[in-house]
Structure formats: C-alpha cells, structure tokens
Symmetry: C2
Subunit: 180 residues, 2 copies
Amino acid sequence: MSNQTIETILNRRSVRSFTNQPVSVQDISLIVEAGLYAPSARNRQNWHFTVVTNPEMIEKMHQLTLQGMEQRGLKVDEKDHTFYHAPLVIVVSSLIEGFAEFNAGCAIENMAIAAKSLGIDSCIIGQTRFMYSQTNKVDVNLMLKVPFEYEHDCSICFGYAKGEYPVAKERKAGVVDYIR
Amino acid sequence: MSNQTIETILNRRSVRSFTNQPVSVQDISLIVEAGLYAPSARNRQNWHFTVVTNPEMIEKMHQLTLQGMEQRGLKVDEKDHTFYHAPLVIVVSSLIEGFAEFNAGCAIENMAIAAKSLGIDSCIIGQTRFMYSQTNKVDVNLMLKVPFEYEHDCSICFGYAKGEYPVAKERKAGVVDYIR
C-alpha cells in the first residue's frame, strides 16, 4: 500500500524519549494548523491551545503536575519527567459543553498525525490535569494564557524520538463487530 | 507543500450528502484499522466499533434517533436523515473510565482521516446518543452488538460525497497562545 496518510496513522507511536532538537517554528505552525482543522460539534471550535517552547515554563508545568499528584497521594517516580524532556508541549483546554472531549480528542490526534508526517513524535499527557489539583484554577489558566472559563483537557508533547522506536502494542481482540 | 497527510487533514470536511456507492470491504477494513491504531490512555483500547452496512439497520438507527429526539422535545426536520443516506455507519462506544472520550475522539479522527485519504468522506454524528433516550440501554447495545457495560459515544458515517464539496468554515480567532 502506498497511502502515506494511512501509513503515518499506523506508524504513530506514543514516544517517551526525545532528543533536545527543537521543533522548528514552521513545523509548529503546521502542527497547530492541523489541530485547528479538526471537526467540532456544531462547529464550535471550543478549544484553546497553549503552545509552550519556553523551557522554564515546561519545567514549571512538570513541577506543578508532580506536586498535584503528590498531594493526591499518587506515586511519583522522580526519574520520570512529565513531558519526557520534549522541547514542545501543547496544552489543550476546552470550554466544557456537549462533546468538548471528543472535539479535543480529534484536535489532538490531528496534531499527532501531522507531526508524525513531519518526522516528529509525540505523547499525549493526561496527568497535566493534576496541575490544577493544588492551585487556584484561575492562576493556572492565567499562567498558561487559557481563557478563564476554559477547563484543562490534556497536553501533548512533541520532539524527535531518541533511542529505539516503540513497537505497537498488541491490538485488543473482539472490539469490532459487523452488521452487514 | 507536498505532505499528503497534512493536506488530507486540512481538506477533510464534514460531508452531509452522499451518493449510494458503497464503501468497499477493503476500504472499510483500512478505515477500521486506522481507528484501532489510535492512542488510548494507558493503552486501554476501551472502545468498541459497530460497523454497519446493512441498510435496514441504518434505517432503524435513524428512526430510533428521531424517536429519541422527539421524545425529548427536540425539533426534528423530517427531510433530514440522521446519516445523510450514507452507505456505511460506524457506531463508537466506550467503557466509561478516565479519558474514554478523548480516546474515542482520537479513534474517530483517525478513521475520518484514513477515509479521506481513500477519497471517502464522512460526518461525525453526535445525535445517535438519542437512540438510547427511549429504549432500554441493554436492548440498543444488543441490537448494535455493543458489550453491555459500554456506553454510546457517537457515530460516524462514510461514503462518497455528492454535490458541491463543502468549503471550510472560518477558523475561530484567538484560540492559540504561545509561551516562547
């Protein structure tokens, strides 16, 4: 099969080890555009993306996530970095209304696929919601330039994969049924 | 730019008019595979796809959706068909747990993008949740071969676009911020 798009979709893996090579401004712009062109229920486009390349801010988000997890009594492995030291993090937030999570999922996947087509790998990070565990929501939204009434969905980090490329996990059996 | 994947992502539209040309078994299989290769939180793959090409079942789902909407007092335009007479509907259901809607969103978008790369258009249908408004959930899950503890996410219909191809709606301004 020589369908580049489907090959890209099937070869995307969640990557958890990155080199320190930055993602170019041009590639960031293509990735963000792909996200913005996701479908959304009733064309609400009720998402917000915070595109973070500032290393101090990435570190601050990591620390806030750890603190939030610790405060909730969740086990934190100090060796792990929330964003695996990736040079680019996009924080996705939504105005919570019908289907907001589906919309956000579509946008995130568009960004992951677009990045992969550019040779850039990614990992979706759910635990950044713990940034909001211990601080005033308004403060974190301000810090991340998120409109005050928006809620955190998740984050996605991007970079160039370091080390062995992950093998696809086995697909779960029995999850597709047909009515022909 | 000659990046086929990004072009496909940017050119995908929600299409609401289809010819009666069926989607081939081979293309259905590629679309479903793309969905199955979406990322999921903790690799739970907690989704279920019901792939419906049976015209009577598509009509039954349409009628159940209409009845559910009417029962809730929602306005129903008899001219509209829930699936726009598309020849293929994939119903997506999930085991509800953390991030299930994001996972489902990623899977749905993978299917929409894969289809588009094959010349097949699609539309995500949220209102099929109304199928569950007036009937026992267990009955609808049985009818759609959905595991009994799973919940309906949404549906996505596929086919070959008929008539003028939709123009992209304007992208909302001010939804991206940068921290450099």
